[in-house]
Assembly symmetry: C2
Homo-oligomer: 501 residues x 2
């Protein structure tokens, strides 16, 4: 006799299948779709979204959750089945408050906005994107109102990405970060002795860049039998299933680091997705714990591993083999310093480890203002530029390098940006634990052996999927809270040494 839990799992598997299919549609949209396909793609995604939503929030799901909850009442808190019921129930109670029409409207609007954004960005034409941006803000507010919140509508949006976190908690962490990062960046700028990275300003051919990216990915432990690497305007990672994980990069011959660190960053996401265990089934548990925790994995590989000296001890010789002319005479110390160069710049995804956070603070503040209707979309480009001036001391020459640079809003991701900075904090906290557990980690990295690190992450992060909230997971790993100090200590130490502050 099938019990409620079994029936619940079958139902959630169908919902998960629709999500997986939607992920492929989204991946294809950015990697392969011809321009004419946009309108139908928007409709397809909207239909999959609304069917998945309807299936998930149906009364039957609620009834099955009730019964399955009783069936699993005796199980330990961290068992797969108890976690499935607990996490799904929380999600069910949130999502059933969102009307199906709003789900379809959102999906449809975002798919259209994405195509409009691609064009607007290419032509640096905010005016053509403005109606989409307005619709995006209105839909975000409607979504927040439907979901419900205590203090600020933004909390409802943030919760979709960081379960159980509030904008007040984020603001507090960000204040601690600002207090140390703003003066740190200022000190570096004031010192006026930039790191020498002139060897980076040469042409690095596409082919060898691609090859090196694949080599690093393979060394990181990415399984090409269960995933692939492609190109897109904005690098991203999409898990169609844990056995079909796809990351993208963009290769710019003039900017070696751009594509290279995109591969490593997305590789960190991709390893997380490939590490989600089959035992968690086709369900909402088989995903990252949160966007911030997901980002912690990409940041950990991108910054704590790949912006370290040991990493380049191993990989620089490989890179030099591919670019003998460009890297002639460049040693590990010089390369290490160059990849850690700090300099205020326009594009978030190409920002260094320190100024990156300033890009996030300003987006968080702009989003708070948009959602609270304290800022009109018409005034958004000016507000953007003013924040850039305030935090980074520079003003974008056009909207392409300003307010139009990010894909997020066009994909409906308001409330997402803070998770990047949270990811930085979590990455430092998690890496500190890994370092404590793996005694000779630096030596291993310097030898190109990254397997122990991956195994530790699999065991402590990946295998749990979404069983725990970010706060629970951090507690399990560190015994404490999300904290800013480990990241700030790490950043100050590294940069003080490089810049002799």
């Amino acid at each position: 006799v099938p019990n409620a839990l079994t029936e619940l799992k079958a139902r959630l598997a169908q919902v998960d299948d629709l999500e997986g299919a939607k992920h492929l549609l989204g991946w294809d949209q950015q990697v392969n779709m011809p321009p004419g396909g946009a309108e139908a793609r928007a409709q397809h995604i909207a239909t999959l979204s609304s069917l998945a939503h309807a299936l998930f929030v149906a009364n039957e799901t609620g009834e099955l959750l009730e019964s399955a909850s009783a069936e699993t009442g005796e199980l330990p808190y961290d068992s797969d089945d108890a976690s499935l019921v607990r996490v799904t129930r929380r999600e069910f109670e949130k999502m059933r408050r969102v009307p199906e029409e709003l789900v379809a409207e959102r999906a449809h609007a975002f798919a259209l906005a994405f195509s409009a954004w691609e064009k607007a960005r290419a032509q640096s034409d905010f005016a053509s994107f403005k109606p989409h941006q307005e619709r995006i803000v209105e839909l975000a507010i409607a979504y927040a109102e439907a979901l419900g919140y205590d203090a600020h509508p933004y909390d409802a949006l943030l919760d979709r990405f960081e379960p159980e976190m509030t904008s007040a908690q984020v603001a507090k962490l960000f204040d601690q970060m600002k207090a140390r990062i703003v003066p740190l960046v200022q000190a570096i700028v004031d010192r006026g002795e930039p790191v020498d990275d002139c060897f980076l300003h040469q042409e690095y051919a596409d082919g060898p860049q691609w090859e090196f990216g694949q080599l690093v990915l393979a060394k990181m432990g990415f399984d090409f039998q269960r995933g692939r690497m492609d190109r897109s305007t904005h690098p991203f990672t999409q898990g169609i299933s844990p056995d079909d994980v796809r990351l993208t990069t963009r290769i710019l011959p003039e900017r070696l680091l751009s594509g290279l660190f995109a591969v490593i960053h997305e590789g960190g996401h991709a390893l997380y997705e490939q590490g989600l265990p089959p035992t968690l089934g086709r369900s909402k548990l088989r995903s990252g714990a949160s966007y911030g925790v997901h980002e912690s994995q990409s940041r950990l590989w991108e910054n704590l591993v790949a912006r370290s000296q040991p990493f380049w001890q191993h990989f620089l010789p490989h890179l030099r083999r591919l670019f003998p002319q460009q890297l002639d005479g460049v040693d590990v110390d010089g390369f290490f310093r160059a990849v850690n160069r700090v300099e205020p710049s326009f594009i978030r995804v190409e920002a260094d480890e320190a100024t990156y956070n300033l890009h996030i603070f300003m987006r968080f503040e702009l989003e708070l203002d948009l959602v609270a209707r304290r800022l009109e979309v018409a005034d958004l480009p000016a507000a953007w530029n003013a924040k850039m001036e305030a935090y980074l001391g520079i003003t974008p020459p056009d909207d392409r390098r300003g307010v139009l640079q990010d894909v997020h809003w066009s994909s409906g991701f308001i409330g997402y940006f803070p998770t990047y900075a949270l990811g930085n904090l979590l990455a430092a906290q998690i890496f500190a634990q890994a370092r404590a557990a793996i005694q000779d980690l630096d030596r291993q990295i310097a030898g190109g052996a990254l397997d122990d690190l991956l195994a530790w992450l699999r065991e402590n992060v990946h295998r749990h999927g979404k069983k725990f909230t970010p706060l629970e997971l951090v507690e399990r790993i560190t015994g404490g809270q999300i904290a800013a100090d480990p990241f700030l200590d790490y950043l100050e130490t590294k940069l003080s040494e490089i810049y002799r502050l």
Copy 2:
């Protein structure tokens, strides 16, 4: 107040969206998917199939069809709305007989079988595919039983591809074809003076082959803003929507004609898909009239256009520019003769225009026997080889070049093969009408002007979508029935001239 027709259309649009999404999943499976993705892809496709089926065969659809039928009762037979109701109703009455479990089982089994087939074919290992083939036959029989039929279970399967046609009708047409094609091929073989095509047996580089394919496609009128061309093991065309139509080819440096005619063949399918009008909405009407009619479009371009002398008057100079060495001294007449070379061979998709049909007859007969349980799957390779010997006088050296060569069975397409030969007949009938309507058609083709032909096909075939059955469409175009003589006359005339019979 929304009437029943409006509600019906909204419902059918959702079904169509699920089908469109499924088409993308299928395309990706053959073009991009990493090996590990197969299992989850099978699940995703199965879920989309069963949700689309459930939505379509629901009682609500039946009720809406009833009411919409009354609402459209006064409209002319060929109006879009009357056709929508008529065609959908026929489909509804068929499909509601198929249990949802069987739909999901089929989709799941075929997705797994496809991956198994890819491996089995590469290794020429029928044994590893046998359990899948057995399951495919059992599911085909179960499907036929569910759908219902009068004379032969095969009729139920054929009807899914050729609405309102029976295996008896097909057998009658095939008998007429055999009566003239078998002696024709025999006469060519007996004559013992093969066409000289030794210039084809050289290496043709991948890059220029790809370029030429794109050039021909563009000349045919394929819109690259609303579609794309990729590579896959087995060439195919998939319409995600009429504005996102994707064809694939395979390029073999040793076989220029293989990839080239695949592009033109799939291009004919793709033009049909791109020509389906928006006015037919997201519904079952916005598709080809049948698989046979679809095939008529690919065959028309591949054979009647691109195996003609005028075509190569225009295109040979382009091809010679790309392969100056290989095609040095080859003139239009020599090239025309080479692309029309007739010779019994193992692989259907690379067969010439005459022997191709023999490949179809034998598959049709094998399928009839499998479905009637007159043939065991264990005996299929031997039966295959015996038929090859009987029809073509040759025996495949291995199953890769024998029973494992086609993708169809692994995709659940039993009942499909006859449509290829029907497509040959229809192509000749349709082209004869186009020729009558466009007085200087040969001169246009010789000048590389293919627009009038495409416009005529748009007007007479493409724009109708699935409003009419194949028999109705043929009646509209030719004033008569599907007939074998126009094709047989054309074939005999061309080959008698080339082989001086």
